[in-house]
Symmetry: C3
Subunit: 487 residues, 3 copies
């Protein structure tokens, strides 16, 4: 009876010990960002602990319980909705597919949350039915293509193969010159969406060498490819005409419209999905807040930085109002500020710097791309965020998370704090050990002093002193000085 129990334990130990080194030794897997975290539901309470930690000293026990229940309730639909995701795993495939599509829609903003995805689709429908349809088709076929190509199921379930699809679908509809409800457009839309996982996988093969994500590079490549392959004059798939600016737009500062300027912040967030409706942008802000307040704050901050940069570089006001200066900065600010780095004050400043750099880069890339009749897409975000993620620094306060441990800013922060606590504990253990040694040395010093006094009184008993000397040498140098005087 006990024996059988015992062997079971051993089996468990073996299996756990064999699974433990896997995340360490495996050269960080391409898209398994949520894999290791899904396997450990006990990580979830850490978030509650953190929020509690912020809420100051613990209140009365009753309130405390209510608060923790509230947080438990919140955790069901905020963050990455892990519990829901686990429940989904046992459902019908079509229902699962819907979950993946919704998560894919939200992953554009680095949010792995089907509820946020639903809210985002609501925002898209508010903007334009036809665009929303194209976005849905894009996400769906990108996910299906990933399934056909047998990509990592965990990455598919996290929506990591869908977000390029939704952007491809949406932006191909946005930049099409054939008008809404031109059904033929679905053909290249489906083809390009299905190419997404191929391009994603290829880019991931390169980027994982530096433990970097692919961001929206597949979308950028595929939409630019489609637009430049067809162009404005194409008979089947004409694109809107984008031309380089060569004239001198007159800017009179008195004409500035402050209301529009402030409205450009939500519009900038909406422009991530190519939407210029401020209400749509507002809905997107809500969808971000549902999943992660830190992401939400950085999104708003990024959009504001973009607007300011536009004014600083004397961009035409119309472009700023239209949110064209904001959307790249939004994404760059989210990515650096808490998503791929653990959020500290230094990282927060880095995120803002990155947003400014991204705005600069955005202007540059828009000017270059316009020569080919292309929009800037999210190239500026990709390039600036990759640059800032490749940064190496001696500072310990700028901590880049391993790609496999990235989830959402709050959880990332908890992960970082856990790591730091461990380090501190180890350090403290070491220090206490050293202090112990130092105390022993101090005692020996005192003994030495006593002996010195004795020696000065009359030279005697130097033999057992010598044995002390040897032990003292392991201490610090000051004792040696004493000895130097003494010998």
């Amino acid at each position: 009876m006990t024996e059988s129990h015992c062997t079971k334990d051993i089996q468990k130990n073996i299996s756990s010990s064999s699974s433990a080194p896997v995340p360490v030794s495996s050269p960080s897997p391409v898209f398994t960002e949520l894999h290791p975290l899904m396997a450990s539901p006990e990580n979830n309470p850490s978030q509650e602990d953190r929020v509690e930690g912020q809420s100051g000293p613990a209140g009365p026990s009753c309130l405390h319980t209510a608060w923790s229940r509230f947080l438990k309730g919140v955790s069901y639909f905020s963050g990455d909705m892990e519990v829901f995701g686990k429940w989904m795993e046992k459902q019908f495939l079509l229902l699962q597919l819907l979950d993946w599509v919704l998560r894919g829609a939200a992953q554009v903003m680095f949010v792995n949350n089907p509820l946020s995805g639903l809210v985002i689709f609501a925002g898209l429908i508010l903007q334009n039915y036809w665009w929303a349809l194209n976005g849905f088709v894009g996400t769906l076929f990108a996910t299906i293509s990933a399934l056909i190509l047998q990509q990592s199921r965990g990455a598919i379930a996290a929506g990591l193969y869908g977000y390029n699809g939704i952007l491809v679908g949406l932006l191909m509809a946005v930049f099409s010159n054939a008008g809404d409800w031109y059904w033929w457009l679905l053909l290249p839309n489906i083809f390009m969406s299905m190419m997404c996982p191929i391009v994603s996988s290829a880019l991931a093969s390169i980027n994982t060498r530096w433990d970097l994500p692919v961001f929206t590079l597949p979308f950028n490549i595929l939409v630019c490819l489609h637009m430049v392959a067809t162009g404005h004059y194409n008979h089947h798939f004409p694109q809107v005409l984008i031309q380089p600016r060569s004239e001198l737009p007159n800017i009179t500062w008195s004409e500035i419209d402050v209301a529009k300027l402030f409205r450009s912040i939500p519009v900038g967030i909406g422009q991530v999905y190519g939407c210029d409706n401020p209400w749509t942008g507002g809905i997107f802000i809500i969808s971000l807040f549902i999943s992660s307040p830190i992401t939400c704050v950085h999104a708003v901050l990024g959009s504001a930085v973009g607007m300011v940069s536009g004014l600083a570089l004397s961009a035409p006001f119309e472009d700023i109002y239209f949110g064209l200066w904001g959307y790249n900065c939004v994404l760059a600010c989210i990515a650096v500020g808490g998503m791929f780095y653990a959020l500290t004050w230094q990282v927060h400043l880095l995120a803002i710097t990155c947003a400014f750099f991204c705005a600069y880069l955005g202007s540059a890339i828009a000017n270059i791309m316009s020569r080919f009749g292309l929009p800037a897409c999210t190239w500026p975000f990709c390039l600036s965020a990759l640059t800032f993620l490749l940064l190496t620094t001696g500072s310990k306060r700028i901590f880049k998370l391993p790609l496999a441990n990235v989830t959402y800013p709050e959880k990332n922060l908890a992960f970082y704090w856990k790591l730091k606590k461990q380090e501190k504990a180890e350090k403290a253990a070491k220090e206490s050990q050293e202090q112990l040694n130092a105390e022993i040395t101090l005692n020996e010093k005192e003994q030495l002093k006593l002996e010195l006094q004795r020696i000065e009184e009359g030279r005697q008993g130097s033999e057992n002193n010598n044995t002390n000397v040897e032990e003292t040498n392991r201490g610090d140098n000051s004792t040696e000085l004493v000895l130097a005087d003494y010998v």
Copy 2:
């Protein structure tokens, strides 16, 4: 005496053990694609086996012998002409150089066969004497430069340093606006050809990190460099004028010429070498068939896919007739379809997808390059093939060959089948072992049941049961359930 002997042995062991990991740790060598295969002449019969395998059940013994003799004869001038290559190694250097140049000419199409190279040169001469001369000079000087720079002799002998040279030589002549027999052109031709091995080697240093070939990237880089450095208005080396299309070419589907459309398939294959003569294209098809029928089929298929894509994207008919939509797809389809992946149905579909993607990309790159007065060269092929080779997938039917084992599709397939057979054999061995274990467990189960009956009759003799339990635990869980009932 024996002791010194002993230490020597130990030293030997140490040195041998330290030298052993070297081939493991060395990052897969740059261009040794044919090296490991040249060393194993016993690989050759495997091709025969394969073809026999295809020819259905073995006929009468006499026919069988005749057939295998015929295949033996065929193997002398098909594939990579290994026997001829080995014979060549002992010849005079100039004769060897000729072999390398001919192989280099064929390597543009991934064919390592001097006979194919000879046929290709015949096709070039049919097209234009001056172009053929430039192509020959390019191949020759690229190979000489590789010799001077002491590149891998195996790669040089396989023509892997010549194929960029022939393309550089040919296309510089094709795009020169100075007319034929402008002898000064040989100067930049020789300079650029001699730069080929340098650029090849540099790119290989990068690409081998992902076990990728350099394809025709050196040619693309060097020809574009020459053309854009000089341009249309240069006094010494003027280029043909290439301008971006900005007007609206009217396409009336009634004007389509089906005969020309079909002729565009061989023309597309000819355009790989910049030739628009359909007969030249036909000769190239023959040269491909000599070495590898699979390559030949994919070349034709690729050209057809290119033509269809051109129609789908409403390209001007003239461009399609001229083969401009075909040549990149030809190369992409060959590369993915059997050359760098082992040919299965899944890979065949992937190759066709790649050809479609390549056509799309071709249109995009042609539009961008025309802004700088440049042709698309084979950039679309390189980029699309590299993307598809970087693809990682969970499917076992999409098997990318290690770069060092790539030869020609038929041999690659044999290599893949051999690997699969080995795996199967290992699996079968494992399974039979497991079955044996399971049977033992079953016997133990039956024994247990007997014991149970005995126990139910009267509790007795539980001691020797316990010993069985321990052994049973190594089996499966169902026995544990039995035990749970029992205890």
Copy 3:
């Protein structure tokens, strides 16, 4: 006793064999070029040895002493001024910062010498006060930013974070269309300078995978970014108008001005810093000579190659006179000729080839960049030098130094010679051992011959011969032939 000795020897052998591959396998650290050298002051005399070695057989002892004293004096302000650098480490931070800024100014030409930096600033002031100020501000803020981002202190002290800053500052002033003393320009200047270490660090993360430096890529990226983001028509930061050449500039060879052509050589060197004043160029040549004569020679050579290439490709004379064909070749020729490769005749030829390739590439890139209103910057140098540094070759005379051991050409050469001497010594030791073995074998051979004679006289005593045979087999094959005749 003997046994313990024996085991110790074995341990030594093991440890030496296990420690030997470490420097090979270690991925050379990012920017520690001067680190390992600072730690070893005994490296310095090697330079003197080298120069002595060049000065032929040793003269009288008195002259010899004077000469070595002179060299000792020279070593204080030539090369990388190591002694001064070490003294600086203990100074006040602001003084240190000045040292770093001066070294940064010189590092554009790969010179790590504050005196050269001072001379270069003198040249810049001679050219234009405003530009010199911008250059100083750029270097200063780039260095400060590197300090804030806690980059490697050794790299900062070597000026490796400053050289991109000086170029960013200078060239933003040079290409600004707002005229001199437009103080607002300092704002983007400071921002872009502070971005330098970020972009440097990011690029270094990529380039170190191939043990490559980042060269002036951060400068190229940031200046192009600033220029294309603002453009000619910007209200705040207008840029000079750069347009693509489309007309046919008439070139009449009789109009060539040989004096100007020769003056284009120093002008080309001046253009590395964007200066067209030949005197400034001359001052720069002096600054190069102070630190490293080899660098100086290659700079002049590169400029000359650029001029010749310009004539060969029928460039407008004005461009050649203005030094636009020279500056990239100057840098490429310095980088390949002795800086990153150890200087041998083969490397010298490679450097000249690289300069020609760089000139070609320069023309190509200038034509492409002009479409976007951009200058060529030093893209051609970066791309051509990176290509030539990625080259792998079987030749032992083309030795690429590990990035961590790169200092200045003379010291690099000393390092290479030291390595070669070590190799030779090891080889000689091996050979003498083999010769010893061979002699033993020869003695055995002679013994065999004697025995043969004896046998021919009368067949006798073949038993002890057999034992000899076994030992002889370890020798060479010729003895086996003898034996074959004999048996």
